[in-house]
Symmetry: D2
């Protein structure tokens, strides 16, 4: 989510989704999500949480503060009219919204905020959590306020993923090769041969969120699309297959690439996925557990849309059994996913089912790696940006970005679903992004 760290922009919900409507359940969800954010920086120093390794990334401390600011700004001060803030300066410092309006230079300078310290930010979190606990009992299920808080929790989960993604980038730039190492990023190895699931003549089908359970605004309205016959690969493209692409000169052959992609790859000197390095011992890659040998059976990760597209072009002629390979449309992906048992509602015990599928035709559709689709991130028919601060910019990212589906190994549990639309510019590759092939029938 290219600019998610800048705003709660794309985050809107029409209906609240905690089943019982009990305040205690919302409070429980709040506590769980909030605690998880802090757990992510366990073992990290103030400096680790302050550094910003590139313009696209934000410091961990900033993620922790910005998600807290959401609740202070919109719930405590906005909805409940509290006039006292933990620190009035934080309204400016951690408000990504005003950045977009007038102070665009600030983003690349987030790494200079050595003050407030990590300790102060944790105090800020504790302070807001206490104040939130006070008000949460007053919030009835199904109210607008209930929805707003739920939105805040999903917003925070997005930032949990970004926090890990950005930390990985930071650690990757440190020549002493230290690692984050909390046991994350357990992407599944698969030795399954690549096979195809056919979806014959789907015709007019429904995609998009139906309003049942939480969703971001861009997931709706639910609407009809016309689908032609297609097939989807049973699993994501693996590192082993990507090594074949590298060895076949994929990064040196312009005919596989989109024009913009080729220009980008040349300018930046791409020769492999981000974080890959080759030594006499073969390929290794930076992970949240540090530098590891590239596992040929694991899904390829940290590739851009441009690379994914070039791979598919190459595969159609050169990868066995892949004639006609291309990236799937997001509608194809969602339709396929809807024919699988899927879970993913954040709140409520039933919803907290494991995301990983086993024994499915389509394995690991959710989790492991975000899967680039062929679809531009565009509004669904009938989509209109919401009015007001929270939704002010809902549609503003709907240009020049490509949709990813399915979530990754660092997507929080309960945060993913079949209708979820992640999106990034096609040159970005620091996300946990890979691909799954599709083709016409």
């Amino acid at each position: 989510m290219d600019a998610i760290s800048d705003s709660p922009d794309r985050t809107m919900t029409a209906t609240p989704h905690v089943q019982a409507g009990t305040a205690s359940s919302l409070l429980e969800a709040y506590r769980e999500v909030r605690a998880q954010s802090v757990a992510l920086i366990n073992g990290l120093s103030d400096a680790d949480c302050t550094a910003q390794s590139m313009d696209d990334a934000s410091p961990a401390k900033w993620h922790l503060a910005h998600t807290t600011w959401f609740f202070e700004e919109f719930v405590l001060c906005g909805a409940f009219g509290q006039s006292e803030r933990f620190d009035p300066k934080f309204q400016y410092l951690f408000n990504s919204y005003y950045d977009a309006v007038g102070a665009r230079h600030a983003r690349p300078e987030r790494g200079l905020l050595t003050r407030p310290t990590l300790g102060t930010i944790l105090d800020y979190r504790a302070n807001v959590d206490t104040r939130m606990a006070d008000v949460l009992s007053d919030i009835g299920w199904g109210t607008e306020l209930y929805a707003l808080i739920e939105l805040g929790l999903h917003h925070e989960q997005q930032h949990q993923e970004l926090l890990l993604t950005d930390l990985l980038h930071l650690f990757s730039r440190n020549p002493i090769k230290s690692s984050y190492s909390v046991g994350y990023e357990k992407s599944t190895s698969s030795t399954a041969p690549l096979t195809w699931s056919d979806f014959d003549n789907p015709g007019i089908v429904q995609i998009g969120h139906d309003g049942d359970g939480f969703a971001f605004d861009c997931e709706g309205p639910r609407h009809e699309v016309l689908l032609r016959s297609f097939a989807l690969a049973n699993r994501a493209v693996t590192n082993g297959e990507w090594l074949q692409f590298i060895d076949a000169g994929g990064y040196q052959t312009p005919t596989y690439w989109l024009s913009d992609g080729w220009a980008c790859a040349q300018e930046r000197g791409w020769f492999a996925p981000l974080y890959w390095e080759k030594s006499d011992d073969g390929w290794s890659t930076m992970t949240l557990q540090g530098w590891q040998p590239v596992d040929p059976s694991a899904p390829v990760c940290h590739v851009s849309h441009y690379e994914a597209n070039a791979f598919a072009s190459w595969a159609t002629d050169h990868l066995e059994g892949c004639e006609g390979a291309r990236l799937p449309l997001e509608s194809e992906w969602e339709y396929a996913a809807q024919h699988q048992p899927v879970s993913g509602n954040l709140i409520g015990s039933e919803a907290l089912r494991p995301l990983k599928q086993s024994g499915d035709t389509l394995s690991d559709l959710f989790g492991d790696v975000w899967e680039w689709t062929a679809s531009a991130f565009k509004p669904y028919p009938g989509f209109r940006p919401a009015k007001g601060a929270v939704g002010e910019y809902n549609g503003k990212f709907m240009s020049g970005q490509s949709v990813l589906r399915g979530g990754s190994c660092v997507t929080p549990e309960g945060h993913i679903r079949a209708t979820y639309r992640n999106f990034f510019h096609p040159d970005k590759r620091w996300q946990f992004s890979g691909l799954r092939l599709a083709r016409d029938l």
Copy 2:
């Protein structure tokens, strides 16, 4: 067509289209198109035809040479096996294809080619025309070769538009304000109030080229799309309406803009369409007839996709009768156009009907200005790039670009049709590009 000057890339045809299949007709078409290119530089100097005013543009001389190279390379040397060339160096100089592969720095340096001179390029054209006349009588209707030559003529027509577009940019940068002045760019003024044509519940409709008559490859395959009810404005947005947008602070209000568009507009200091200047006498704009007062009744021209999108966002709240305004989908545009009497086949006398519609509900759908759509330039279902040199890169521009429809005042007669897909990056505005509003019903 963002990169058209670099290649015949997107130019493919499945079926030849001269009705009678007489060689004389193809020869006549060849002569007509070729003569038209040279007519465009009437009155221009060698220097005028050599200068390159920006990286996106090419010198007029280069357009004249590159379109000639197409016939020498693919027809005379390729198909007929001629080994003697007018000048062997031209194979490299005017072959945009090799640029793309290995010599990408060449494009911004086209303006340095003071040699060969314009005179030499005109000799080159005459030489190739003579050699082409010799072989054209041997080409039977419906053959692959016939199709290739027809493709070459459409390719040349694309460059005719680009030649004028690029010259306008060049002349605009000259402070002495000289003009091109051949009498082009006769865009229609309209005092018609903005009204809407409703298209009620179209359902599953066909779009894309059906193979009857010439089309570029990206216009097919013809396929079904599902259309919801929509309305299309009876005319393009006018300069007068754009002045309202300017006066309302449209260029200073980020909430109207896509995120990437706002960043672009700020970085480049946009405050009005390209070529607009404000003085004490009001707004004026550079045209092929030189600097002219902005005509409030004429369609707005030289706006980017970003600006078009911002205008629509503003219009939905602020322009009378435009609630819900947005850019049309290209499928909506094409469907609407198919319900109008349309002409546009290049070759054959019946085909050379005037493009301008009169008395239509939707006026000036063709001509005047290219109309930005909301659609990303993506392959139609089932599209596969052709094999071989001519089609090698067919799909490579299908990323990051937006579709425009309808043609402009500098599009050659007979070169436009309802299925025609033009495309440029959303920040480009030196094309003759405007917009027509759409909305949901």
Copy 3:
């Protein structure tokens, strides 16, 4: 010293300078200088010491580590042949020398080194200090090794100034406006009117270091120069005078500026010295004590050579009593300083006299602000770069930089002398740099 943080490059000494030649004195000096470095970060967090606010600056942690690396690399491992290092990775991490040779990208990424932590760096310092104490007793006065260690101490003092200079920049970029505040930067206010000291017909004079006491290599050889009559202002240009320059449109008038300076000022939008901000309450400026009102009586600070030059051009016509004003040559400055009682030897109690002059005709020649001269930083006649690692690059900065003289309020006591040549590119202004006017007689 533009690139001092990259190397011990310019640091060479011909003769050791502790008077008695007792090891205990060198040890004492070592302890004093080393302790002073650590004292500078008192009260700062790990994050404060890790952040890098621009490419020109280095993190405090890096300064602390790099100066320690000097002793481990050149003394302990180099001279004493110790094979065990505190951490073998530090040889690469804090060795600016290899950066210069092959890894130039590293410098802007120093702020990403969240590991090793500040605590580890302090352990590193303690470890090296212990090992150094072990060997210091073996070093005889006047030996090459003695000179090397003395060089290391002067090198560390240079970095002490840079550490403060870089921290000021970091804190200046933080919108919460916290401050460093250890009581530094006590620049003298002066209400003295500007007067001139005349130096009549000096003729052939000697400048450069004479080998008595420590000096960097670029301060020698001592040599003759031919000086014409000149006058030097009794004090540095003040903020009050600079405000006159601003109010007179100095930043908007190209005729005062060098051509390169004007281009630079326009491109970067300069309107006042670095750190100056104007509000309804008047001008304020960032200092090590935080934001403070601009004191009209204090020397102007944080101006580039370009600005200093423009000021002098303006002053010659517009500042009372300053007709013919220009920047002094470094030879004029040094000659004038040699006619003042000056101290400045690092080691030995007598040497630690206060630097500030009182009752001098030329006040504050040392301390307060570095004074830009008109002289390019070029080798003195007969200067040849030394051989070997320490001196390998001695002359490599002698291009495109301007000489500054006199030291600033953050220059360590005992580190300055009349022959000292500081140098930076003419566009740099984050140093504590001001100016003193000169003129012909």
Copy 4:
């Protein structure tokens, strides 16, 4: 002269210099110089004269117009008060002075001025020449006006050299490898071994222009400098010696280079002098006669100050007989030149002696290649910029540039002298610039 095409800036004269003071002599000089400019473009097309191959260069047409503008602006309109201009727009178009003040973007866009045409510019020249002839008879020797016109002629001669220099660059970028070919650039081959002329203990010597004959303002005032013993090489460094430097890895060894020079060389990928290319047939280089094999006996040309400096550093250790090699100071160079028979006064028959020396100890001190010195371009003692339009910016280039001495094969006859100070930034290499070694005795 880095920015000479932007202004008559550095051009000032205190005393007029036509001996007899007859108007007919000045007219003759005028006609000769003016005719020579036009002769330089013999055989070139309008396009050749319009193209601009990089920001540093100007089109030939611009040089022809700007030098004409000088006479119209300063003499005809300025001094004689003529109110009618050939074309009022030319006052803006060819007035480099106003560019510097407010319209800095114009310079890189000079190549877009396809109008006015070359024909119009030649008409402009003829028109001004006629008007000048009318007034020249009224101008008495020794008057200010006489001096102004003389200045205009020297200004035009500077542009004659730049015109050829810029054309060479333009032609070098054309892959068809056409050439200018008017018979210029006849640099002398020398098979003389490198020897040294010793200048023993010169002491206090005079350098700078003494007011006898024409000089630019920066050549004065004449003043004393103190020179130490030095030696100067008998000839310029040759291509053969440069090839040794290349073969020895000179371009890959940072220790030979100034820090800024190394960064520049890396960033721009330098591996040899500008225009050099290596093929299976060995090295060739672009010349005004087209591509030619590199002649090992000819002086190396088209090297930057950075390269010249690196060469000297390398030579001191690796080139036989060159221990201690360095670039000469400009004062050393001028002192040495003053001990040679030198000519170079523009006007008057005696002055038009051949510039090339034969049988001198120091051969080719004048002509062949400009010789980089070690000296920064700084004002001589007592230099003050002149007042008024012509002299307004006299000193503004005295920052960041290095002095070159001696003239080149494209310097007009009669335009060079021992006191002449040419100057360019140390990274520039499209001038005809080489070097001659010096060393201490």
